[in-house]
C-alpha cells in the first residue's frame, strides 16, 4: 500500500471508525434537519431521534457480527 493510500486509510479509520453507517447517518440527520428548518419546521427534536436510531442499529449490527 502506498503512502497516500495509508494516509487516507488512517483518516478514514480515525473519523469514520468501526461503523460507517454512524457517520453516514449523522450526515443524513443533519441534512434532514437543515431541510426541515428551511421549510419552516422547528426540527430540534430530529437529531436526538437520529441518535437513538443510529445507536440502536449500530449496536444491533455489532451484536450480530
Amino acid at each position: 500500500m502506498n503512502v497516500l493510500a495509508r494516509f487516507g486509510r488512517f483518516w478514514w479509520d480515525f473519523v469514520v471508525g468501526d461503523d460507517w453507517l454512524v457517520a453516514a447517518g449523522v450526515v443524513a440527520g443533519l441534512g434532514g434537519t437543515a431541510l426541515l428548518v428551511h421549510y419552516g419546521v422547528s426540527a430540534w427534536w430530529l437529531m436526538p431521534v437520529v441518535v437513538v436510531a443510529l445507536l440502536g442499529v449500530s449496536l444491533r449490527r455489532a451484536v450480530r457480527s
Partner: protein, 248 residues
C-alpha cells in the same frame, strides 16, 4: 452553562486517552530505559500542541453556523463511536480494556525488539512512545479544537487536557505501573455521552435549529442521551443473560 460541561468532557476524554498512552510509555520505559521514551513522549506532546495551536485560531475565520455544523457532525461521530464501544463493553459483548494485560504485552514486545540507535536515541523506544502518545492524543486534540465553536472553548478545553495530562503523569510516577484501577469504561461512557450531547446541540444549531430554552437544552439532551444509553446497556445485558447490576 456549556463551559463547565465542556471542561469536564475535555478533561475526562484526555484522562482516558492518557491512561492508555501511559501504559505504553511505562512498558517501554521499564524495559529499555527512560530517556528515549520520555523524549518520544515530549515530541508527541509538542506535535499535539502544534495541531491545537495551528487549528484553534484558524477556526475563528470560519462562519459560526458552518463551524457548528461541521464540529457538531465530527463530535457526533466521535461521541457515538465512544458510546457504542462503552455500551458493548458494559453489556459484555466486547472485552473490557485491560491495562495490565496491555502492559504485559507491550513489555514483551519491547523486550524482544532489536536495538537500533538513531540521533543518540533507542529508536524503537522513541517511536513506540511517540506513536502511542500521539495517536491516543490525536482524538483529544480534535475534541479540544472542536470546542472552538463556543467562545473561549479552546483555552478551557486545552487547560482541561493539560490538567488531565499532569494528573495522569503524576499518578503514573507514584503508582509506577499501569493505572488498571481507573474505571475506564465508565469514563468512556461519560465522554461518549458528553460528546454526543455537544454534537447534537451544535450540529442542530449549525443546521439552523433554535433550541427551546437555548443553552439550558444542553442539560436536557445530556439526560436524554445518558438515559437512552443506559437503557441500551440494560437491553443488551438482558439479551446475553448478564445480571443487570453487574459492574460495567
Amino acid at each position: 452553562m456549556s463551559l463547565p460541561i465542556l471542561f469536564l468532557a475535555a478533561f475526562t476524554a484526555s484522562a482516558v486517552e492518557m491512561v492508555e498512552a501511559l501504559t505504553i510509555v511505562l512498558a517501554v520505559g521499564v524495559t529499555r530505559g527512560w530517556r528515549s521514551p520520555l523524549v518520544g513522549t515530549a515530541a508527541a506532546l509538542v506535535a499535539l500542541a502544534a495541531i491545537v495551536g495551528a487549528l484553534g485560531p484558524a477556526l475563528t475565520l470560519v462562519p459560526i453556523g458552518t463551524l457548528r455544523l461541521v464540529v457538531g457532525a465530527l463530535l457526533l461521530v466521535f461521541g457515538l463511536q465512544w458510546l457504542r464501544k462503552a455500551i458493548l463493553r458494559a453489556s459484555g459483548y466486547k472485552a473490557l480494556h485491560d491495562e495490565d494485560e496491555i502492559f504485559a504485552r507491550e513489555r514483551e514486545a519491547a523486550r524482544s525488539a532489536g536495538h537500533e540507535e538513531k540521533a543518540g536515541l533507542d529508536w524503537f523506544a522513541f517511536t513506540l512512545s511517540f506513536k502511542g502518545v500521539f495517536l491516543e492524543g490525536l482524538e483529544v486534540a480534535f475534541i479540544v479544537v472542536s470546542f472552538g465553536s463556543t467562545k473561549g472553548g479552546v483555552p478551557i478545553a486545552a487547560a482541561a487536557a493539560g490538567v488531565a495530562l499532569v494528573l495522569v503523569a503524576i499518578t503514573g510516577v507514584v503508582v509506577r505501573g499501569p493505572l488498571s484501577r481507573v474505571p475506564e469504561n465508565a469514563l468512556k461512557f461519560a465522554v461518549g455521552t458528553m460528546l454526543t450531547t455537544f454534537g447534537v446541540f451544535w450540529g442542530a444549531e449549525g443546521a439552523g435549529v433554535s433550541w427551546p430554552g437555548n443553552e439550558a437544552a444542553l442539560l436536557g439532551v445530556l439526560a436524554f442521551v445518558a438515559a437512552v444509553s443506559l437503557v441500551l446497556v440494560r437491553v443488551l445485558r438482558r439479551g446475553r443473560g448478564v445480571a443487570v447490576g453487574a459492574p460495567a
